[in-house]
């Protein structure tokens, strides 16, 4: 620890003076990287189906307790990335949009009923939907101005949505919180039904 602290102090001592020297300001020079990151970060937030599914994963994990509370948010990005990679290299996913809509229905229902599944079954459910969500991101990824920044943005946003879900799920420690969470799950499931109806109508 001492060695790291010394190295950190030396690094700071070397970097701080130089940042204070008269270097050029790079104001107003937003490049493709910033645009890619912003687009990637906003992508899961701007799609209601993605947003509801990600938050529901976090809430359900909190309802299930350990180890699901940490295992689901750790496993989801990895499995989602597999789906994303399939989308990037052009492997088609039949009825991918329907799977995404169904994920909102199923995850909302699981939250509303506080359904307890074995961890392997919970991982299988979440993993299946993670593939569909990742595939949808992956298909759009090659069109991004800066694909790396886009990827960083959307993985970060997805993770933060899980964290938001876990924080909401912690409300379940209070009796009224349990009711609120289960009501939210019901609303999410209903919205998911609307998505499925929209898919079937299309």
């Amino acid at each position: 620890m001492k060695v790291i602290r010394k190295a950190a102090i030396l690094g700071l001592a070397a970097l701080v003076p130089a940042t204070m020297a008269a270097g050029p300001a790079l104001a107003h020079s937003v490049g493709n990287g910033a645009a890619g990151f912003t687009a990637g970060f906003l992508h899961p937030l701007s799609g209601l189906d993605h947003l509801l599914a990600m938050v529901s994963v976090g809430i359900w994990g909190a309802e299930l307790g350990a180890p699901a509370i940490w295992l689901l948010p750790i496993a989801f990005p990895l499995i989602m990335a597999v789906g994303g990679a399939l989308g990037v290299i052009g492997v088609p996913l039949p009825a991918g949009e329907l799977l995404i809509a169904l994920s909102v229905v199923v995850l909302g229902t699981l939250v509303a009923t506080a359904r307890r599944l074995p961890i392997t079954a919970a991982l299988a459910v979440v993993g299946t939907f993670a593939i569909a969500h990742g595939h949808a991101h992956g298909v759009e990824l090659p069109m991004a101005a800066d694909a790396l920044a886009f990827t960083v943005g959307f993985v970060l946003a997805t993770g933060l949505l899980h964290v938001a879900g876990i924080i909401i799920g912690v409300l379940g420690r209070w009796p009224n919180g349990v009711i609120a969470i289960r009501a939210c799950g019901g609303v999410v499931a209903l919205v998911g039904c609307y998505f499925v109806y929209g898919y079937a109508g299309a």
Partner: protein
Amino acid sequence: MPERKGGVCAIPLFVGLAIWLAPAAAVAHTPLQGVGSFWSGVAHLLTSLDQLGFLLGLAIWTSFQERRLDARVIGTAFVAALIGVWLGVSFGEVTLLHLAAAFAGLMMAVGLAGATRLRVGAAPLLGLALVGGVVGGAASADATAGLSVALFALGGSIATASVLSYGLLAARRLDSDWGRIARRAGASWIAAIGLMVLALSFTSHPGRV
């Protein structure tokens, strides 16, 4: 002991503040090349998301190992980054796309190792630090045009060691139950990014990796 600790940490801040207060000319809206070779090397690393991702992943993974390995990992990455720039300049035919794929693979490796809290000996850890440092340095070599290679490499290496040091400091402090979960979740995010960028490296796309 807390008093001594506070005193040590305050020294660079006071030095920085003193220099900050010294008068200097403002050079707004000039290109990055104006900062010179050393700071171009620093800025190149700090603005390369893939290199930052790898270093943070390496820091997280290292934080799950014995503390005695910390300094060796930092030292190895420092030296490897220096060597990497020289190799990149000497063997310019290695395309950036190949290095992007290699870096994505490295991100995936350290991310998965951190997410699964893989406990290993010194050799795999130092090996990845070495390979990552060399690949990162080589990937930076294209930015050395018109600059002093030695100063650029030194800047990049110091930035590499600094990012690793601060990453390890932060990761080691997250030692509670939730802190460990946060570290593992962060590592899984890095692995996910690495996997998707790796896939992008093997397909044609209009954007850049």
